[in-house]
Amino acid sequence: MKCLICGRETVTDLCRYHAEAKQKVRAAYPLWVKAYGNVEWNDFLDNVKRNPQTGQWAKEIAELLRG
């Protein structure tokens, strides 16, 4: 099986790097909600994707989750 994003060999749909990035994107969401008071999931993903500090794999995950 190949990673949905980068094509690396993997046993699930994401390689270990993108799986780690996905877990970090999910973990960041409640922190953003707390910081802004309220933020929609899709807005959060758009902002993560645009933010210059976001890592490349995390950006790719945000893109994938945004669909």
Partner: protein, 687 residues
């Protein structure tokens, strides 16, 4: 009295010339022996012949020397030209030393007094001189000045440095066995999956070092920033405005940040008493090689390997002491006063030197000591030729650090004031140097800036003019640069002061990281991930550090190098078995990473013509010459450009600002050459 002469073996030709000049009072005669220059002279009624190696003249290899075969546990020492194609003069120099040894009755090892120098000398005495390693005397010195060399030869020691030699030979054997087996296992795995041969190396120290880089890369690429706010207030009193930061550096939520603004605006701030206090800042400790490399990177941006090369040149010209030292201590035996008097004869340092010479000379000392060498220091000799800019920069840094070590502590006055608005506090902070002390000698490298703080008295009342809320995001971690990676290796206790810079250069050279940004490539990731999965000890810091500790015990005479070699073999055998079992899977993983990294290395960037294709380096089948072409050629894009035919190409991160074509660095000469590949770039037009 024996009839033969004393044969002196030095590590490099420049060192041999200095030794003969110092001992012969300039009366030595140059001779050619088997095409190599040697120096002959009489000293105190004895005849001396001084010859030189050129670094290592012997190297470790396996007798079969077949790069597809592993495991390899049987290693032997060979003339370097047989194991390293770049070593072109080894055979000739060995022949010279062999011939000279036949007429010698006494032997002196005058190579650099450290593990590598001892190994070079030991091997030459053992193999080229026919088993003279046990009877040879040792000359030990830390600078190539006449004074130090004469002292060393008046006090020759039997058997000094034997432990260093044994440890050095053990280190070479272990590193060879380790590197050759694992690298061949990986290279063969990739070859087995159909890719053409490419060396994929994993050295004993290289593995964990690459592991540090990959760990950081994962942190960076999976990083998700979290927002926070910074608040600052603008205050006014008697028409004077000042800005102060909120006492709490980071406000976690927008609601809290807005509450601060709400509760402060249109209110009055009251100043608490300004706190002024003086702190003493002691001088920085004398340089060991790691400190010098870090400081040269900070001050001039030189990679560690370059600083080491420059420092070695300065050492061979007797301008500074032996640079490959771990010591941060300056013993009185180096003659502080003599060195500073010498520096006083160099215009740039004369005023500083004169000032220091008025006082008692007592340098600050660092915590690390090196049994063989003091901290890096100038010798007090004046350069006999105009130094090139990088040499001059490193020399200046070494001199100023040395002078600074004798300076008194500096004093800085720090000031802090608090402006309170109800329960909220804003801070003003600054500082200035009130007594420069050692900073005067260290000059621009001291790096302390003065930041003024407006005078504020207790009870002063200010109008709050505004409160600014700045939305911020956490910063992703920084990649290692060559200097911080060297520091990490030092902290983790892997590698030696002599090898760390070379290991970093190898990691770059193998294409595991990009040279410009140190970003780990797919190949680097793949090598570490493969090792982590199938042979985790190879990239673990623990095993490498454990071996380093045992090698140090051998150096000190308390360890057994034969037992250490056996232990290392056992651990390699276990790892290799695991790699062999999974050869096919490993091969597939590495193969796809190699392909990805090769594709990337030939892609230069987006095509500015068609805007959808990529410009690539293509080699013409007809002329065999390389040029730039677009990946959309088959769809009609005719963007193309010539390229220099020599040198490695590396793509710059950003395209040309004038024409949007890619920029490449052409490596191969002394310095990389920056080139916009567009032959019609406006930047290339003559005015």
């Amino acid at each position: 009295m024996s009839s033969g002469y004393t044969l002196v073996i030095c590590e490099k030709p420049d060192a041999a010339r200095r030794v003969s000049d110092a001992l012969s009072e300039g009366e030595s005669r140059n001779e050619q022996v088997e095409g190599t220059t040697v120096f002959r002279f009489d000293r105190k009624g004895e005849e001396f012949v001084v010859c030189a190696a050129q670094g290592h003249l012997y190297g470790v290899s396996d007798p079969a020397r077949e790069r597809t075969v592993y495991p390899v546990f049987d290693v032997e020492w060979y003339s370097s030209d047989l194991v390293d194609e770049n070593s072109t003069t080894a055979a000739r120099r060995i022949l010279t030393i062999r011939k000279l040894a036949s007429g010698a009755s006494k032997f002196v090892n005058a190579c650099d007094f450290d593990v590598e120098g001892e190994t070079i000398g030991y091997n030459l005495l053992k193999y080229a001189c026919g088993g003279k390693e046990k009877i040879a005397l040792r000359a030990t010195f830390s600078t190539l000045t006449k004074e130090d060399l004469v002292k060393a030869f008046d006090d020759l020691k039997p058997q000094a440095g034997q432990g260093l030699g044994l440890a050095g030979r053990a280190r070479h054997a272990i590193d060879f066995i380790w590197g050759v087996n694992l690298s061949r296992a990986l290279s063969q795995s990739a070859l087995g999956s159909g890719h053409r041969y490419r060396t994929i190396s994993v050295g004993r120290v290289q593995g964990p070092t690459l592991g540090f880089l990959v760990e950081k890369e994962r942190e960076i690429k999976t990083f998700v920033p979290v927002p926070y706010w910074k608040a600052s207030g603008t205050f006014e009193r008697d028409g004077v405005r000042l800005i102060a930061g909120y006492a709490k550096d980071r406000v976690e939520t927008r609601e809290s940040a807005e509450k601060i603004r709400e509760e402060c605006l249109r209110r009055e701030a009251v100043a608490a008493a300004m706190r002024r206090f003086t702190v003493q800042v002691g001088p920085p400790v004398p340089f060991n090689i790691g400190d010098l490399q870090k400081e040269a990177y900070r001050a001039f941006g030189y990679p560690p390997s370059r600083t080491l090369q420059i420092a070695e040149r300065l050492y061979l010209e007797a301008l500074i002491s032996y640079p490959r030292t771990g010591g941060q201590r300056l013993p009185p035996s180096i003659n502080y006063r003599g060195i500073i008097q010498g520096l006083g004869r160099i215009t740039e340092y004369s005023a500083n030197a004169a000032e220091l010479l008025k006082e008692e000379l007592k340098p600050v000392q660092g915590a690390k000591s090196d049994a063989a060498h003091p901290a890096i220091h100038p010798t007090g000799e004046k350069p006999k030729r105009p130094l090139q800019a990088p040499e001059s920069a490193v020399f200046d840094l070494v001199v100023r650090r040395f002078l600074a070590a004798f300076g008194p502590s500096a004093r800085r006055e720090l000031a802090e004031a608090t402006l309170a608005v109800g329960e909220h506090e804003f801070k003003l902070a600054g500082g200035r140097t009130v007594f420069p002390g050692w900073m005067k000698y260290y000059g621009r490298y001291a790096g302390y800036k003065d930041i003024g703080v407006p005078a504020v008295s207790e009870g002063d009342r200010f109008r709050v003019v505004g409160v600014a809320l700045d939305e911020k995001f956490e910063q992703r971690p920084l990649r290692y640069n060559q200097s911080s990676l060297l520091e990490k290796m030092e902290r983790e206790g892997i590698g030696t002061k002599a090898t760390r810079a070379d290991i970093i250069a190898t990691i770059v050279g193998r294409g595991y990281v990009s040279a410009e940004s140190m970003e780990v490539t797919d190949l680097g990731l793949s090598v570490v991930e493969t090792m982590a999965q199938y042979a985790p000890s190879i990239i673990s810091t623990e095993l490498t550090r454990e071996i380093e500790d045992k090698l140090e015990a051998v150096e000190g005479g308390s360890g057994d190098q034969a037992e250490l070699l056996r232990e290392t073999l056992r651990s390699i055998v276990e790892q290799l078995a695991e790699l062999r079992t999974n050869e096919e899977t490993i091969g597939r993983e590495i193969d796809s990473a190699v392909t990805a990294s090769m594709t990337k290395s030939f892609e230069l960037g987006k095509c500015p013509f068609c805007r959808t294709g990529n410009l690539r380096v293509i080699r013409s089948k007809a002329t065999k010459k390389r040029f730039v072409g677009c990946s959309n050629y088959s769809s009609g894009c005719r963007a193309s450009a010539p390229l220099p035919q020599k040198g490695t190409l590396r793509t710059a991160p950003k395209p040309c600002e004038l024409c949007s074509w890619p920029i490449v660095y052409v490596m191969g000469g002394r310095r990389p050459w920056r080139l916009c590949v567009n032959p019609n770039c406006p930047g290339k037009r003559k005015p």
